[in-house]
């Protein structure tokens, strides 16, 4: 692994030239896979993430079925080549936890009671990682769910905030994540401001926490616009074909 850069933030300018509350370039495309019922591809800074949705379909094994509503399965999976040191394939403790909190982050917007005994399966593949993969994954999964036509109350947008070199920053890159003081992934229903995922790793003061939360809200507003646009673009394209 490379060494820690001497400074992560120089006069308010970050290693990649951004200010504290700026986000990286994001490109979202809906409906990129043929077999899946819904899908989405995102390039977010150095992250490349694919999400696919299957279902609602019969839940297997049967003992998992809920007679009142659909269950959600969420699999966050990092490709072995997505990070500098090869990641051993298969689930580890980190990905088990991320899958759980991501599933719970999307649950509030899904109208699960329409599909008793069925399962909505969400698969997120991290092809290239550069910090913020779980929030990129949730953002992609949300678009893929809408693309699959699953009834939803709203979209969920996600972004990470944190602290590096003593400053609260939005949308961390890898160096800031590795050498910074704190990392806080947030997912929210942007239109209502309700928070559906909140985790914090590291150490911050109460004041910094509030500032970070407000940065996250601002970030989610930008992400939300891009999510919406990706869905509209897909249908515009299919109309003109």
């Amino acid at each position: 692994m490379q060494n820690r850069p001497e400074k992560l933030i120089n006069d308010g300018i970050r290693l990649d030239g951004r200010g504290p509350d700026e986000i990286r370039p994001i490109k979202i495309e809906a409906g990129v896979l043929n077999r899946a019922d819904g899908s989405c591809y995102i390039e977010w800074g150095g992250n490349k993430v694919l999400a696919a949705v299957y279902g609602p379909r019969e839940a297997h094994p049967r003992h998992l079925q809920d007679s009142r509503k659909a269950i959600i399965k969420y699999r966050y999976n990092m490709a072995s080549f997505s990070v500098e040191d090869r990641k051993r394939p298969g689930p580890d403790r980190r990905s088990v936890e991320i899958s759980k909190v991501s599933r719970d982050a999307l649950a509030p917007v899904l109208m699960l009671e329409y599909f008793p005994r069925s399962s909505i399966d969400i698969f997120v593949e991290i092809l290239q990682a550069d910090a913020g993969t779980r929030t990129t994954g949730i953002t992609a999964a949300s678009v893929a769910l809408a693309d699959a036509g699953i009834p939803m109350k709203n979209l969920v947008s996600a972004i990470s905030v944190g602290k590096a070199d003593g400053e609260v920053i939005l949308d961390l890159i890898r160096e800031e994540d590795n050498y910074g003081e704190a990392d806080m992934p947030v997912a929210m229903i942007t239109e209502t401001g309700d928070i559906t995922l909140l985790q914090m790793d590291g150490r911050i003061t109460g004041e910094e926490f509030i500032k970070a939360l407000n940065f996250a809200k601002k970030g989610c507003e930008s992400v939300y616009k891009l999510q919406r646009r990706s869905l509209i673009e897909k249908y515009e394209k299919s109309c003109s074909d």
Binding site: V96, E97, K100, D104, P108, D194, I195, L198, M200, L213
Partner: protein
């Protein structure tokens, strides 16, 4: 099936109680059950503590070993946290490798301690690149009546403050030394039940809720870990008040260490 119906009735009861400003056991919304901390009860362990919060019963044991550091942190010791939801604690726990709840529990406790820098990992280094202390925090859930995270985090912290590193046994020093603890991160958990926030939810209350928020705070008020759990959502404006309450309640729990 009858269990489902029973739990539905129970959920309704809890919900109505809380809506009326009441709670099982007559507790206030921000009141913990009785908390007891008993340290040093396992003599074979380097440190140990048993914590009871109401009927929830958790035992944490610390073992230390000499091992190799991680490649990317050659001059730092290692902390490994593991939680076992052993089947004797609840009819819903099964033997076998930890499921996602066990993994999450261990990781939330681990991150709270790690984030606070309560243990200086550099001080656990014996020979950079080859020999460091590896501290295992093992959490055994003995009886499950809700709020496992707070009990586990408190038991882990109590066990760490009670830990002696066995320098003599590993022949790396003349004298055993107490593990140096620089801060006391405390986890506090609240549940949202029908829009009302209650701290230290018991099992029935957890079953009636679909959101829990765990906030780990330190002696000076800094936050060193947050985890939202459950399928619900939290209004943006509620968060800062929850964090303030967490900090205050953590202050009370810290006195038990």
């Amino acid at each position: 099936m009858s269990e489902d119906i029973l739990s539905e009735v129970r959920r309704d009861y809890i919900y109505r109680l809380i809506k009326n400003g009441d709670r099982i056991g007559g507790r206030k919304a921000d009141e913990y059950r009785d908390v007891s901390v008993e340290k040093g009860i396992i003599v074979r362990a380097e440190g140990s503590a048993r914590v009871k919060i109401g009927n929830t019963d958790v035992l944490a044991g610390i073992k230390a070993q000499i091992g190799e550091p991680f490649l990317d942190t050659p001059d730092k010791g290692v902390i490994i946290t593991n939680a076992e939801l052993v089947p004797l604690a609840s009819p819903s726990f099964e033997a076998g490798p930890p499921d996602e709840n066990g993994v999450e529990l261990a990781r939330v406790v681990d991150k709270g301690i790690r984030g606070s820098h309560a243990i200086e990992l550099e001080k656990l280094c014996l020979d950079a690149g080859s020999k460091v202390w590896i501290i295992f925090i093992d959490i055994h859930i003995l009886d499950h009546d809700g709020n496992l995270i707070d009990a586990s985090a408190l038991a882990s912290m109590a066990a760490l403050t009670n830990t002696t590193l066995p320098y003599i046994r590993y022949e790396v020093g003349e004298e055993d030394e107490a593990l140096l603890i620089k801060d006391t991160p405390i986890a506090t958990t609240c549940a949202d039940i029908g829009g009302e926030i209650v701290f230290d939810p018991c099992l029935d209350e957890e079953n009636a809720s679909n959101i829990e928020l765990t906030v780990t705070t330190n002696a000076n008020g800094d936050i060193s870990g947050i985890q939202k759990r459950g399928t619900g959502k939290i209004p943006f404006e509620d968060i800062s008040q929850i964090v303030d309450s967490s900090r205050r309640l953590a202050g009370e729990l810290r006195k038990k260490l």
